[in-house]
């Protein structure tokens, strides 16, 4: 059923690039390693990720950065907007975890703890240890192969 359904979907109308099942699986894994909560509040303004995350019962999509546990950023303009919000929020002592889908965004803010991105047709997972330490996050052993001390 699934296969034929996919077949029909693929030839029909406007398409999304993200495959829901595998995308949710990997992001559940990543987010759970960063936040130890049964339900994680995530902010993203990306339509595709919103569409995927809305199918999850472990991810609660929120509309404001201020109430998010994790902010998923997919482009530079959004990052700069979020950074502005964060400046204000740091004074309040609240700080969501920033995670990006583009390696190049990592250099813009020390608040970004990691990235899940594409490089030459392969997905890459990367965490930056020094930045995780700022949030007092200690990742499980299985992620150590995907960690670097600093950028």
């Amino acid at each position: 059923m699934k296969k034929i359904f996919i077949l029909l979907i693929l030839v029909y109308g406007h398409l999304f690039a993200l495959e829901k099942e595998s995308t949710l699986k990997i992001y559940h894994q990543i987010f759970s390693s960063l936040v130890s909560k049964p339900t994680i509040s995530v902010y993203t303004n990306d339509k595709e990720y919103k569409n995927v995350f809305s199918q999850s019962n472990k991810i609660n999509l929120v509309n404001e950065v201020s109430v998010a546990d994790i902010v998923l950023i997919t482009n530079r303009p959004t990052l700069f907007n979020v950074m502005k919000d964060l400046q204000w929020m740091q004074q309040e002592g609240e700080k969501p975890i920033l995670f990006v889908t583009d390696y190049r965004l990592l250099k813009y803010s020390l608040d970004i703890v990691g990235a899940f991105y594409w490089r030459k047709g392969r997905s890459q997972l990367l965490f930056i240890k020094k930045r995780l330490d700022q949030y007092h996050i200690s990742l499980p052993q299985e992620y150590h192969a995907f960690m670097v001390d600093e950028l």
Binding site: M1, K3, I4, F5, L7, L8, L10, V11, Y12, G13, H14, L15, F16, A17, L18, E19, E21, S22, T23, K25, I26, Q29, N45, K47, T74, N75, R76, P77, T78, T101, D102, Y103, R104, Y117, W118, R119, K120, G121, R122, S123, L125, P140, Q141, E142, Y143, A145, F146
Partner: protein
């Protein structure tokens, strides 16, 4: 004592369990990433299983192969593979004889929109060895007409899909230097904004190539220089492409009967623009414009091909093509309906000889109207039945006959988690090139459109890290255009089979094997022709180094000679931004050669043909920097 022993055992057990679990988790993350890679490759978004039998080059595969031009990919495909004609232009169906462009039944698409050279025919002419730095992945669909995308009938459709800034944002500079002074410079930049994205790619190639000895002091040259721009801007429901290609090429034997030209050169300037919009959820419209300026300079001591009274040609032509289409897609119950109307207007705008404008020939316009309908019906959750019909009407001026072509296709697809099966029954029609009719009216006036009847099947089995696939095709041409003897009364018959086996040892080590066998009857003056090829490729990664080794093997019953084209590369990923690659093409210098026929025009006797490979032996070093 026993207590401590037990504790020790338990502690060791716990440590072991912990280590085991960690390894298991690590494997889980790795396997999750692999699964994510497979299911989220952009190709998964564009592949249409019902288009036919697919040979796919994913982004990962293109990167690992270090494929820089479409030619690097096309030389490895089964059934129809890369060739060049006597003008050194990409023409896979060339027979090496004196003939107009022969590969118009192969059509090329960029992001789903056909790039055509209008009057000259298929976009392959100019884009057959295009720099593919802007490309994410490539799909080759064989034998079955793709009704949704084609305006004119085709046996092979090649789809190039461009990179998406969502995955390839930022810039990239690529510099390549190689044998004989060959060098390429390419720049790519893409950006994802909140509501739209754009990409620009500019590349320059100075294609210094191997010379071909022709027994004179002036060996044949096919060096070229090209400058190409590819760009687009897109939002959720609209896209606009702009492509410009300038290619100046030494054109090998050109119009010289005996392949001893004093001068042989063709310069192209091509512009392509298209705009697509989703009008509603169901309706899509597309408009495209192609313009091509061709300047030919040919000179020989003896009269040229096509110019019995002259040994010199300095000609410039300009032509333009407008294409429009309106398509509708909807799902009603278990039926997925797809229909559309397409139109194309080709016009030869101007002809100049020796710098002076001359009247265009009587035949200077061709108009094509196409209608198609396709229904895909889900018989059961695992089975799909499809029916397609397409009608093309081609109208020409200058007394050249019109064509009325009908294509039909019936398909069945079965799919489960591990097995899949496809079968197609089809009838397709193609007409002889109008230029053949124009130039050789007496010998071509009775030639009817070729009708091909075919049945094709594909069965594949996929399990975790391996996949095996078998494609079988049986076809028969009535009024075959591939027979060189026009008097032949027999139908051309084909039997082709392709076997693929892919095995992934782990995420860093992979082997792909492809074997191809074809038997043709009554084709190209042969009663029977057997054609065999293989493509064996190995992809390995060790630490920061990527290795690729690919061998293309060819052999056919003309002489049973074996040809091997070995390509090898080592890439050092210095860091996230910089990669250095050393690559060798055709390292054994034994890539497939084909004959280029020559004639002594004074006696009109055939001379010994020249044996030429379109694949140069070349070593390159490449620097790739991303920012």
């Amino acid at each position: 004592m026993l207590y401590f022993f037990k504790r020790k055992i338990i502690k060791r057990g716990l440590i072991f369990s912990s280590l085991f679990l960690n390894i298991l988790h690590a494997q889980n993350v790795e396997s999750m990433l692999q699964e994510y890679n497979k299911k989220n490759a952009l190709s998964q978004k564009t592949i249409d299983e019902n288009k036919g039998h697919l040979v796919l080059f994913t982004r990962e595969k293109l990167e690992k192969m270090h494929a820089k031009t479409l030619k690097d990919v096309f030389k490895t495909t089964p059934l129809i593979y890369y060739h060049e004609n006597r003008y050194a232009l990409p023409d896979p169906l060339t027979s090496g004889s004196i003939e107009p462009y022969r590969s118009n039944y192969i059509r090329l698409y960029v992001d789903g929109v056909e790039v055509t050279q209008g009057w000259a025919g298929s976009g392959l002419l100019l884009y057959g060895d295009v720099n593919i730095d802007f490309v994410d992945h490539i799909e080759f669909y064989y034998m079955i007409p793709s009704f949704e995308s084609s305006v004119e009938p085709a046996f092979l459709t090649i789809f190039l899909y461009s990179k998406d800034p969502k995955r390839d944002s930022g810039g990239k500079v690529d510099l390549i230097g190689g044998s004989r002074g060959y060098h390429v410079e390419s720049f790519n930049y893409g950006e994802q904004k909140e509501d739209f994205s754009y990409m620009v790619n500019i590349s320059h190639t100075d294609g210094k190539r191997e010379k071909i000895e022709n027994g004179t002091q002036m060996p044949l040259s096919r060096d070229f220089e090209s400058l190409q721009l590819f760009s687009y801007i897109k939002s959720d429901d609209q896209i606009f492409h702009l492509q410009v290609m300038k290619k100046d090429t030494d054109s090998l034997a050109g119009a010289s009967w005996d392949a001893t030209p004093l001068a042989s050169r063709i310069d192209f300037l091509n512009l392509h623009m298209d705009y697509g919009i989703d009008l509603t959820e169901n309706w899509h419209a597309m408009l495209s414009y192609d313009w091509l300026k061709t300047t030919m300079r040919e000179e020989d001591e003896l009269p040229l091909i096509g110019s019995p009274a002259s040994n010199r040609l300095d000609a410039r032509t300009e032509n333009s093509t407008f294409t429009g289409e309106l398509t509708y897609k909807n799902t009603v119950g278990e039926h997925h309906i797809n229909l559309g109307i397409k139109g194309r207007d080709k016009k030869l705008d101007s002809v100049r000889l020796d710098g002076h404008k001359v009247p265009s020939p009587a035949f200077d316009s061709e108009k094509i109207a196409s209608l198609f309908f396709q229904d895909q019906y889900a018989l059961t959750p695992q089975q799909l039945l499809s029916f397609g019909i397409s009608y093309n009407y081609i109208n020409r001026n200058g007394g050249i006959s019109d064509d009325s072509l009908l294509q039909l296709r019936l398909g069945y697809i079965y799919t489960s988690d591990e097995w899949s099966y496809k079968a197609y029954l089809y009838r397709t029609q193609v007409a002889i090139e109008p230029l053949m009719r124009y130039f050789y009216p007496h010998t071509t006036e009775d030639i009817k459109a070729q009708t091909t009847l075919g049945v094709t099947q594909e069965i594949s089995y996929t399990r975790e890290n391996q996949q095996v696939r078998l494609i079988l095709q049986l076809m028969q041409d009535e009024n075959s255009l591939l027979q060189n003897t026009l008097e032949s009364q027999n139908d051309t018959k084909y039997f082709t089979t392709v076997l693929n086996y892919n095995y992934e040892f782990d995420k860093d080590n992979k082997v792909d094997i492809q074997l191809y066998y074809a038997r043709y009857e009554d084709i190209f003056n042969f009663d029977r022709l057997d054609d065999i090829s293989g493509y064996f490729s190995f992809f390995n990664t060790y630490g920061d180094f990527d290795f690729y080794n690919g061998v293309v093997w060819h052999r056919n019953s003309v002489d049973w000679d074996n040809y091997f084209d070995w390509t090898s590369s080592i890439a050092w990923n210095v860091n996230e931004a910089l990669t250095v690659t050393l690559k060798g093409d055709n390292l054994l210098n034994k890539a497939k050669k084909t004959d280029l026929y020559r004639f002594d025009i004074t006696t009109m006797q055939p001379m010994e043909p020249l044996s030429i490979s379109p694949i140069d032996q070349r070593i390159t070093i490449e620097l790739e920097y991303m920012f």
